[in-house]
Symmetry: C2
Subunit: 126 residues, 2 copies
DNA sequence: ATCTCTGCAAATGTTTTGCATCAGC
DNA sequence: GCTGATGCAAAACATTTGCAGAGAT
């Protein structure tokens, strides 16, 4: 049976309090503020389990290592800031593309990513 | 000055003859059919250089290691077959999404990926 | 002859795994 | 007290790099 350890609570709390998906290293460092001794292997193991079990969602962007967020926050499309590299959920209706893919191909789904500047990084604003 | 070695010719030829972007390992194995002794380090070095120099394009899909193709073939969107995992260029007009991203954000670009079954993998067809 | 490129092996960075110990139940 | 979870260190992978020798110009 699944055990409720302080490490898992710490990781869950970190992601609960984060407004955006985070990477394993980032999660480790944040979790260490609650549990200084926590190890990276535990973070990886916990993330993997939580994704399989469905409580966390893995967020993959092209050319980027995976990030993680609470499921239910799973946004689509995601927006990546070219300045700070942080990733945010965007919540835009996907507007599915025309099926003008190669003949004989069957489209079942799609993913859309946006790039630009987040509000913190827009130059003459904010 | 840049040298025209048999290894580079082999790698270029492999990608020239390929209808889809390929990964480093895949490229190595294909190139070995022309030059048995070629090493993986040479493949990585050659790909990196060619991308910087612009003759090859790096194709990144979410959660996937990079693939490479001749530039000019750079398709967008890309289509990935969920059965054989191969990636194909799709050549669909992007139909840019509405700018309903979070307020204060500046969208500069986007990327779209399609998933489904390629013509080789569609069940009762072909 | 020069100087870049290559192959090998070692280094790096990231993720996974084995194992003895720890701690939740 | 069981048994799953943890931390550490080692292993596994993918990619990069140092270096001496090979090959292109």
């Amino acid at each position: 049976m699944e055990r409720n350890t302080s490490q898992r609570r710490a990781i869950q709390r970190v992601l609960q309090e984060s407004a955006r998906p985070m990477g394993p290293r980032e999660i480790l460092e944040a979790a260490r503020r609650h549990i200084p001794g926590i190890g990276i292997a535990t973070v990886y193991r916990t993330l993997k389990r939580a994704v399989e079990e469905g409580s966390l969602a893995q967020v993959d962007l092209p050319g980027e290592p995976p990030r993680y967020e609470m499921s239910g926050r799973n946004h689509h499309p995601y927006f990546r800031c070219r300045s700070c590299n942080r990733v945010f959920g965007a919540r835009t209706g996907p507007k599915v593309p025309a099926n003008l893919v190669p003949p004989g191909f069957q489209v079942e789904g799609h993913a859309l990513y946006l790039y630009g500047l987040c509000s913190d990084c827009v130059p003459a604003a904010n």
